[in-house]
């Protein structure tokens, strides 16, 4: 099931640019390296254990040796699995990192075009003259960010689960099982993890973009106490991306009940919108040609007074119609008394409810109407079947008469 994406088409180009650059490419690349190191360490340790095992199996026989070697085999198999998982997950992390790098580079190119078309604060004349071009650049930037988002989501969904190892319990060691020492000492419970500190607030541009995506409310710049457990008060969570994550002693985690199944609770609104001008300086062509608003099309209510531009949406590289636009229930206005459409060659036809009159098409009245129309049961043997009792229009020609002529098989004898 595809994960619904954020409303990237709400963002202006400066916001798209800020959001893409806010993603830390270096950190993502570090994760790729870490995955590779996990693989190498697990695989190396497996190799070490394998050599010990092959050595011991020659000199040590008996039941005790069997138990010992069985445990070694269990560890070897588990390490093999862990290495394979790490290697597979490294590929997914690499996909995400490459996607981010590619997106940032593409947006850098688009930003150069954007600057050439007036930049973030164009003059009114430039904004009007270069309006279509600026709209196009903005759409390409939005699509680039959306494609990146889908790529990262897909990669994360392909991650393999980690291989954990159930260490046998041993009551003889009251102080717990042997631990991985730190710096040669044998005192630490494994590799120490650093408690995450207070997450820095995002830059103003990023916060603005996040606020747009989150529904118009800027994320609260409240520092999070890393020592506190995950809060379980979703009602107190302010809307906004920053409030969905909390820092815990175990690392950053999702706030309880605030993310799963998250729909935008209200239609997104834009706090500051000037009619005729989009955020970032992009203007709506007053002639209504490029990016002209289509009232009633697309999502619900117009956003902050600026109607949503009718722009192509993409999903996995394919152009799709905006929700509620082409595919969907019949518009209420058209459902009443018919609707006149003009074809490309200038002729007109009417769409009405009953569809009984000649030349009138019955419009599907359900969201899946088109699909239902195509779901008529037709098999390969009845492609041209007609209802019973209907006289045929085309009659078969008379059967040809064949005269064999004289002298064939002695007929004329």
């Amino acid at each position: 099931m595809a994960t619904p994406l954020s409303l990237y088409w709400l963002l202006s180009l400066p916001q798209v640019r800020a959001l893409a650059n806010a993603e830390d490419l270096a950190a993502l690349q570090d994760e790729v390296v870490a995955w590779r190191q996990v693989y190498e360490l697990a695989d190396g340790h497996r190799d070490t254990l394998m050599r010990y095992r092959n050595f011991l199996v020659l000199d040590w026989k008996g039941k005790a040796a069997g138990v010992f070697l069985a445990e070694m085999d269990r560890q070897i198999d588990s390490l093999k699995d862990a290495a394979e998982v790490a290697l597979a997950n490294e590929r997914q992390a690499s996909v995400a990192a490459y996607s981010l790098q590619d997106t940032q580079e593409r947006l850098a190119g688009l930003d150069r075009q954007w600057q050439a078309a007036g930049g973030d604060n164009p003059s009114p004349a430039t904004a009007v003259a270069a309006g279509p071009q600026r709209d196009q650049i903005t759409r390409l930037a939005q699509q680039a960010l959306e494609t990146h988002a889908q790529t990262v989501v897909d990669a994360s969904e392909k991650l393999l689960p980690a291989v954990r190892y159930q260490v046998p319990k041993d009551d003889r060691w009251a102080d717990g099982p042997p631990v991985v020492p730190r710096g040669g000492s044998n005192t630490g419970p494994g590799w120490p993890s650093r408690l995450p500190g207070v997450a820095p607030n995002p830059p103003a541009e990023v916060a603005e973009a996040l606020a747009v995506l989150a529904g118009g409310v800027a994320p609260a710049p409240t520092p999070v106490d890393a020592t506190l457990p995950i809060t379980s008060d979703p009602g107190a969570a302010p809307r906004g991306l920053g409030a969905w994550f909390v820092d815990t002693p175990a690392g950053r985690a999702l706030r309880y009940g605030a993310v799963i199944g998250l729909p935008l609770p209200e239609p997104p609104t834009r706090p500051t919108a000037v009619p005729g001008q989009r955020p970032g300086g992009a203007t709506v062509d007053p002639r209504g040609v490029a990016g002209s608003p289509l009232p009633g099309a697309g999502f619900g209510a117009p956003i902050g007074g600026v109607p949503r531009p009718q722009q192509p949406q993409t999903y996995k590289g394919m152009r799709v119609a905006p929700p509620g636009g082409l595919v969907g229930p019949r518009p209420a206005a058209a459902a009443g008394g018919g609707e006149v459409h003009t074809t490309a060659n200038g002729s007109t036809f009417t769409v009405s409810n009953n569809g009984n009159a000649a030349g009138v098409t019955k419009w599907p009245t359900t969201p899946v109407g088109w699909g239902k129309k195509l779901q008529r049961k037709r098999g390969p043997d009845d492609l041209w079947s007609v209802a019973e009792g209907v006289p045929p229009v085309i009659y078969p020609p008379p059967e040809p008469y064949h005269d064999p002529g004289p002298g064939v098989f002695g007929i004329d004898r």
Binding site: T48, L49, A64, V85, V179
Partner: protein, 135 residues
């Protein structure tokens, strides 16, 4: 046999201090135990710390992105941290192997007949019942 094929970062993490790397030509179970422990101490633990430090750097870093990207990145990091935790558990299991080997070696080392060791000597290696029978 010297582990000369170890990745470079592993060698950097724990360069052999005047030793030609770890060898597995151990003549006895005691040497296997000592060798395994030394390998875990010098090699595995140090390399694991390198990974853990890297994970620590990225786990706490915020991701300013759309909610689905943030969620996906969090999933990536969580899985990474889980895998590192799995490495820790494997290390603990390795230490347990070394300790049991050392105990068996201490009890029967003089005879150098390890077949005399009883199953109870290695009982701590048995996995929990929930894991099913020993292979």
């Amino acid at each position: 046999m010297t582990d000369e094929l170890a990745p470079h970062w592993l060698q950097v993490a724990h360069p052999p201090a005047g030793e030609p790397g770890f060898t597995v030509h151990a003549p006895s179970l005691k040497e296997v135990a000592d060798g395994l422990r030394a390998d875990l101490d010098r090699h595995y633990a140090g390399a694991g710390q390198v990974i853990q430090d890297k994970v620590n750097q990225v786990v706490g870093a915020p991701v300013h992105a759309g909610w689905e990207v943030s969620l996906a990145r969090l999933r990536l990091r969580t899985q990474l941290a889980e895998c590192v935790a799995g490495l820790t558990e494997h290390a603990q299991a390795g230490y347990r192997l070394a300790r049991v080997a050392a105990e068996v070696s201490a009890r029967y080392g003089d005879t150098d007949v390890y077949a005399a060791a009883r199953v109870t000597d290695v009982a701590s290696l048995r996995p929990p019942v929930t894991n099913g029978p020993v292979q």
